[in-house]
Symmetry: C2
Subunit: 304 residues, 2 copies
């Protein structure tokens, strides 16, 4: 839509903190971009950016304005989605922040099944930690957050959550394989492949270890669950995951999963959330309920 161009421009500047760099990414010259900003500021009667020697920063008025602008763009997307829905096209886009665990099998499976029915819907899913999930929702860069033990926030509304016990992953020939439960202290004696500190799983582990005066030393650390998993095949390492990560096909060839003793680590919550009070686009709302379906099926499967 034409009339949102200015808002997109301003949003880009606010995000990059520099008119020149924003202009590059927008494929226009800084001149044009600069003038559009000046025009908006004149219309508004107030500068929305503070000019610093190394770029620009939002002023207080700018903070108000950018919030409005993002809301506008989000609303436009919603209306377009609704309109597309009228003609039965089922088009739209869903953007999400997800924990690394969901990237392995669960989310890809959901997306491909969803797209089988609705080929007009596109997706972006980027990996984020428990705080990043919140900020992505708040600044409209994600419609949905799907993470483990999200940072609590009033600005966020949890749509659905299920408890997930943390499991230890290892090669089938690992000395600890075959046990039915594991204590955290047993794990600390092996090299560990841990998710990044921003991830919910790592957060839970850190808190629990600190309470027991253990230090978990990360031999390998990554945002990518797949990468961590691959490490187990070549070394007697331990990794940690929640069950959703290896649903529905199991942890994979030659890997086994053992839950951590419940006394060491109470089950955390796998959460689906959105910005509080926001109207989601039709596509996002539908996919959210699709996720919820998947989660509840997961819960039932676990209960049986």
């Amino acid at each position: 839509m034409r009339h949102l161009q200015q808002l997109r421009y301003i949003d880009a500047v606010a995000r990059t903190g520099s008119i020149r760099r924003a202009a590059e990414s927008l494929a226009i010259t800084s001149t044009a971009l600069n003038r559009r900003i000046l025009a908006v500021e004149e219309d508004l009667g107030t500068p929305i950016f503070e000019r610093l020697p190394n770029g620009v920063r939002l002023s207080v008025a700018g903070e108000l304005f950018i919030q409005y602008a993002r809301q506008q763009m989000s609303d436009m997307a919603r209306v377009q989605s609704q309109i597309a829905d009228l003609s039965g096209e089922r088009r739209g886009h869903v953007s999400m922040v997800c924990g690394q665990a969901m990237m392995l099998q669960f989310l890809p499976g959901l997306v491909s099944r969803y797209r089988a029915d609705h080929p007009g819907v596109s997706f972006t899913a980027f990996i984020g930690g428990r705080q990043q999930a919140v900020s992505a929702l708040v600044d409209f860069s994600a419609d949905l957050a799907f993470v483990y033990e999200m940072e609590p926030s009033n600005a966020v509304q949890v749509l659905y959550e299920i408890p997930q016990r943390l499991h230890v992953l290892m090669a089938s020939d690992h000395p600890l394989a075959g046990k039915t439960q594991l204590r955290l202290s047993e794990c600390a004696e092996y090299p560990l492949a841990l998710p990044s500190p921003r991830a919910g799983i790592r957060h839970c582990l850190t808190v629990a270890a600190a309470q027991r005066s253990l230090t978990l030393h990360a031999t390998v650390e990554s945002d990518s669950a797949d990468f961590l998993l691959k490490c187990l095949r070549t070394e007697p390492m331990l990794a940690f995951q929640i069950p959703v990560a290896f649903a529905p096909d199991g942890p994979g060839e030659g890997i086994c999963a053992v839950p951590i003793h419940a006394n060491d680590l109470p089950p955390g919550m796998l959460q689906l959330a959105q910005q509080r009070g926001r109207h989601l686009s039709v596509a996002a709302a539908r996919f959210a309920s699709f996720i919820m379906d998947g989660l509840s099926r997961l819960e039932e499967a676990h209960d049986t």
Copy 2:
């Protein structure tokens, strides 16, 4: 603001139902307006107007879009108001639908007192009935509605209400003057000066009269409370008003007010309302609480 121009144009077309007539009121040619509409429709991928031989009408997609557009414009006004507020300017605009009763003394008094403190705030107050109040709120053409016995609606949120008994107004030398209460049947024998059927007062009268098998014949009928009041001076007519209409200075020289018997007509509610869930501009929100102050003072004065 530049980027809302298109939305304003489309809103104008939707309201007038004709591109040419809208173009006139917008001071541009129909060519330009027509092309902008076509551009928006192309961007959107769907026509938002149905072309009829005598003009245009919103399509279903257009209904969705116009709702979005009006929301956008309202949000922009709110943000501008907030930004103006940052610099302590106290500028802004408040638009209202009001019952005719409020136009006599109460609202003018409030506005002038408010503007004494905040000269940067401007007002539009147009007269509307109990249904018009609702639709003006819903289509964003008014920030606040201030009417007697508004049409109930889920889309509307009542901010404040006080009970108001209906009074009969007449010249001081009228045969009925001096009584402490009046029955509706007594009134029916005199020529009546009634507000328009859309007004809350008229609605209450009609309902009550119908229940008692009376018919109230309007000799004079008008939207203007002032006009109705003037009629009483020259003829032995009766008019009907609620107390707020002649607060704080009384019904005026040579006019007296007698309440209608409570059995004939239970007290109705004078209501201040806004669109449910809408964020009002700073100016509108402040003036709303100013009205509420005024109303509560009225209530206390009546109680004493």
